[in-house]
């Protein structure tokens, strides 16, 4: 009886420990790959660095530092489209990281990927990141619910109630608008090849209306077969082969 109990205990512990060991092994593997990528980058072997970083992104997941390093490797290789794409992805995960913002601005400037002048509203919305706008909404909602719970126990003046409701409503409306408008700017696709041309129809033989620079942000509007109807920041519209662009959000 004791032997049987001992066996059950051992099997139970193995079942408990095995996944933890697998996770730990996976973590070690990710660490090694990441370090290999960084070392290859340091040696100037950007192809190997890209391979290591891409292996992590495809098999283990994404993180802002990983995408940042991958984008740096693509920049050094001269692959501006992939660089912008990965900086933009890193920017979503770490919106306040100055390194991401700085490098992105630098390659935009060096490659003539100028962005349109922001309007007053866009500047105001850009004051906070999308996550900060979302946090403002959540904190306001939390504050409002706590106030209402407190109001059950304690009695407040009518003016206090009106002031709290008014400011909560304003803050929540502004934060929802901020989140929505910021979401519009973080959800584009990036031109990832240097031979992309806008076509008037979604066919290979269609006439081109002009080329579009690698690294430019475009906003998909429609799809047909292997083609996507896009609009760029200057308002130009046209069909692009789906293989020429990649969405920032996977």
């Amino acid at each position: 009886m004791k032997t049987r109990c001992r066996r059950f205990l051992i099997i139970f512990l193995l079942i408990l420990i095995l996944p933890l060991q697998l996770i730990a092994a996976s973590g070690q593997e990710v660490g090694i790959l990441f370090e290999q990528g960084n070392q290859a980058y340091s040696k100037g072997d950007f192809d190997s660095a890209i391979l290591s970083f891409e292996e992590i992104t495809s098999q283990h997941g994404l993180s802002a530092p990983l995408l940042f390093n991958l984008a740096n490797s693509y920049t050094q290789k001269g692959n501006i489209g992939q660089a912008v794409l990965n900086y933009k992805r890193a920017e979503i995960l770490a919106p306040t990281d100055p390194d991401i913002e700085g490098n992105l601005e630098k390659i935009r400037k060096e490659n003539g990927l100028f962005q349109k002048e922001l309007t007053g509203l866009e500047k105001a919305i850009g004051f906070l990141t999308i996550n900060e706008w979302s946090a403002v909404f959540l904190i306001t909602l939390l504050g409002l619910s706590l106030f209402l719970l407190a109001a059950i126990r304690f009695s407040y003046k009518r003016t206090t109630h009106i002031a709290v409701f008014f400011f909560s409503a304003v803050l929540m409306t502004v934060s929802i608008a901020g989140t929505y408008l910021r979401y519009q700017t973080i959800n584009p696709s990036v031109v990832i090849t240097n031979d992309a041309k806008l076509l008037i129809s979604p066919f290979e033989s269609a006439t081109s209306t002009g080329s579009i620079q690698e690294g430019r942000l475009v906003y998909p509007q429609n799809h047909h077969g292997n083609y996507t109807l896009v609009q760029d920041g200057t308002g130009r519209k046209g069909w692009l082969a789906a293989s020429k662009i990649e969405a920032v959000r996977k």
């Binding site: 980058y41 802002a64 060096e110 996550n131 619910s145 081109s208 002009g210």
Partner: protein, 604 residues
């Protein structure tokens, strides 16, 4: 004095001769138009034949048209002098009267000026029956006469070629017409440049009527080959005067009223605002394919006439020192198709992506200067010149591809100093390890260094508001807020109306008491049943009359309730039971319970 007189006479003679000479060399043109393309039988239209550039009176030969009569209404002439060019214009007016409804065509009207003979275009019109012109026809006919769009002549084009076009919107000044939109292009395969919101405005006279003319200068560009039917339209509103109904007593005697005049229609009459669409005639924009032969390799679709200027600074450099190459392309055409010129870099040069700017000419948007600035770096000291650059475009007037080459620019390249050489040699780090990654990573091109910690991995890129925990928290807090609002609302209601709470408590108390009574009936405990009956009555009435339940006696009941009330009867029964130890059967208890329950529930 005599000298002065001779001089003045000579000058006058010279001016007269000049005018005569200009007249004699002026080109004669003839045009015919009718004031209304549709009019009823009881009305007439004005046929105007305009002869421009003739110095002498022209002979007009009107054709015979069955059921149509022409009545001459004289002629008017006009002489204008613009920039020294004298133009004469004589208009011959005829009233056109129909004898029968139908569609008619006036054949080309022959006009003889001196020995030359000219002819107008055929003129079509329709005569409708008296008073039978439909409202739509009236509106369409009148609208075509009141407001319309004229477009400058369109020739054949190549795909992407920029064609300047003049759009003129004519609005009859006798009507009040407001335009609410800019003209839009209807049709596929052609794109129009965005129109200015401040068009030029002027006045023009057509067929003896004065029009307010709004003019836009824009460009059209075909994006695919073929014949594309296009038209222009814009939305507007038209104030249409409503004919007044005269109520004068004179009118009933067959005499026209003093106020039955169109003048008073304008003064007293109502106006109706109609939304109208002002359109141009249907046009065809013909886009022909570019020649497929002799297409230069670097042709990017530029069509027009361009010039190329290339400059560089500095021209004395060391190896590795950047040079700014400036390429200026001037001329007219589709500048948007001109891309940065290919720099034949090879192994001797390192090039950076160029930046471009375009400054359109103030007079027209398809003229201007496009400038490309590019940083180039010499890799070796064996370079002596910046190679020539090539610009290829298609010239639509010559109908051939043109390639323009810049002249090579001489360079004085010196061997690099050690510091400069370092800039172009890739740095080979020695011992890479994780700690060195941030400190010793070569800072290529000034990029921020690599991050050394991978951070927390996630499988999707989602902003905060799309994460499940965030959504769940928001839902929970929203629910909590609603619940708190409901609780608070009920709390306030209770404070405002305390009787609601009292009533609720009374109802609950009665339910509890009745449940106990029912138990006692079931247990067949007569004494306890009667005592509970008394207590139930006291509880119920004590709440109602705000008295201590135990202090209520039969005297109180007689005062509060009617004499024959069941409650008094049961209460007396319970008192008797206390003193006389009365017993009840189960059926009696059930009956009494039911009576008491019904009575107490009815007592509000």
């Amino acid at each position: 004095m005599a000298k002065h007189s001779i001089l003045i006479h000579t000058l006058i003679l010279f001016v007269c001769c000049s005018i005569c000479a200009t007249y004699s060399f002026a080109e004669v043109s003839v045009d015919g138009s009718i004031s209304h393309s549709t009019f009823p039988l009881d009305r007439a239209a004005m046929l105007t034949i305009t002869v421009s550039g003739a110095s002498k009176t022209a002979a007009i030969y009107l054709p015979e048209v069955e059921n149509i009569r022409f009545h001459s209404r004289g002629q008017s002439s006009q002489i204008s002098m613009v920039n020294g060019n004298v133009t004469s214009m004589v208009s011959y007016n005829y009233l056109v009267q129909g004898l029968k409804p139908g569609n008619y065509t006036i054949d080309p009207i022959k006009v003889k000026v001196e020995r030359n003979q000219f002819a107008t275009q055929p003129i079509d019109f329709e005569i409708t029956a008296t008073g039978q012109q439909s409202k739509t026809q009236q509106q369409q006919t009148s609208l075509k006469d009141i407001a319309f769009i004229k477009v400058s002549t369109l020739a054949d084009h190549y795909p992407g070629e920029v064609e300047p076009v003049t759009l003129k919107v004519y609005l009859d000044q006798r009507y009040r017409t407001d335009i609410t939109t800019l003209p839009i292009l209807n049709g596929d395969g052609v794109v129009m440049e965005q129109l200015s919101t401040k068009p030029s405005q002027s006045q023009e006279t057509l067929n003896g009527r004065t029009f307010h003319v709004i003019t836009w200068e824009t460009t059209l560009s075909g994006i695919k080959t073929g014949r594309h039917p296009i038209s222009f339209s814009l939305e507007g509103s038209l104030l249409i005067p409503q004919k007044r109904r005269t109520t004068s007593t004179f009118s009933s005697f067959g005499r026209s009223s003093l106020f039955n005049d169109s003048l008073f229609d304008d003064f007293f009459g109502n106006y109706r605002r109609e939304q109208v669409t002002i359109t141009s005639p249907d046009l065809t924009f013909n886009v022909v394919a570019l020649p497929s032969e002799n297409v230069p390799e670097n042709f990017t679709g530029a069509i027009g006439d361009f010039n190329l200027e290339v400059s560089a600074t500095p021209l004395q450099v060391e190896v590795g020192e950047p040079i700014t190459l400036t390429v200026k392309i001037t001329g007219s055409g589709n500048f948007d198709r001109i891309e940065a010129l290919d720099f034949p870099a090879g192994d001797s040069w390192k090039t950076y992506s160029p930046s471009s700017t375009f400054e359109p000419d103030e007079s027209s948007p398809y003229r201007g200067v496009k400038t490309f600035e590019q940083a180039i770096v010499v890799k070796g000291d064996n370079i002596s010149e910046i190679p020539k650059l090539a610009l290829s475009y298609f010239d639509p007037t010559q109908k051939e591809y043109v390639t323009k080459l810049s002249a090579p620019i001489g360079l004085d390249v010196a061997s690099s100093s050690p510091q400069v050489a370092m800039k172009i040699v890739k740095i080979q780090p020695t011992q890479p390890n994780q700690e060195l990654a941030s400190d010793a990573t070569p800072n290529y091109n000034g990029l921020a260094p690599l991050h050394i910690h991978i951070g927390k991995l996630t499988h999707d890129i989602k902003p905060l508001f799309q994460k499940p925990w965030y959504i769940a928290t928001c839902l929970f807090l929203t629910l909590l807020t609603f619940l708190a609002v409901i609780v608070k609302f009920r709390q306030v209601q209770r404070l405002k109306h305390p009787e609601i709470e009292t009533s609720k408590q009374t109802r609950l108390q009665l339910q509890t008491d009745l449940a106990q009574l029912q138990n006692m009936v079931t247990e067949n405990d007569s004494a306890a049943f009667l005592a509970q009956c008394r207590k139930t009555i006291q509880n119920k009435l004590g709440k109602k009359y705000q008295r201590q339940p135990a202090s209520i006696s039969s005297v109180d009941l007689n005062r509060w309730l009617e004499a024959n009330s069941v409650i008094i009867e049961i209460f007396l029964h319970t008192e008797q039971a206390v003193y006389g130890s009365a017993t009840l059967s189960k059926e009696e208890m059930q009956s009494m319970y039911q009576q008491l329950k019904d009575s107490l529930e009815k007592t509000s």
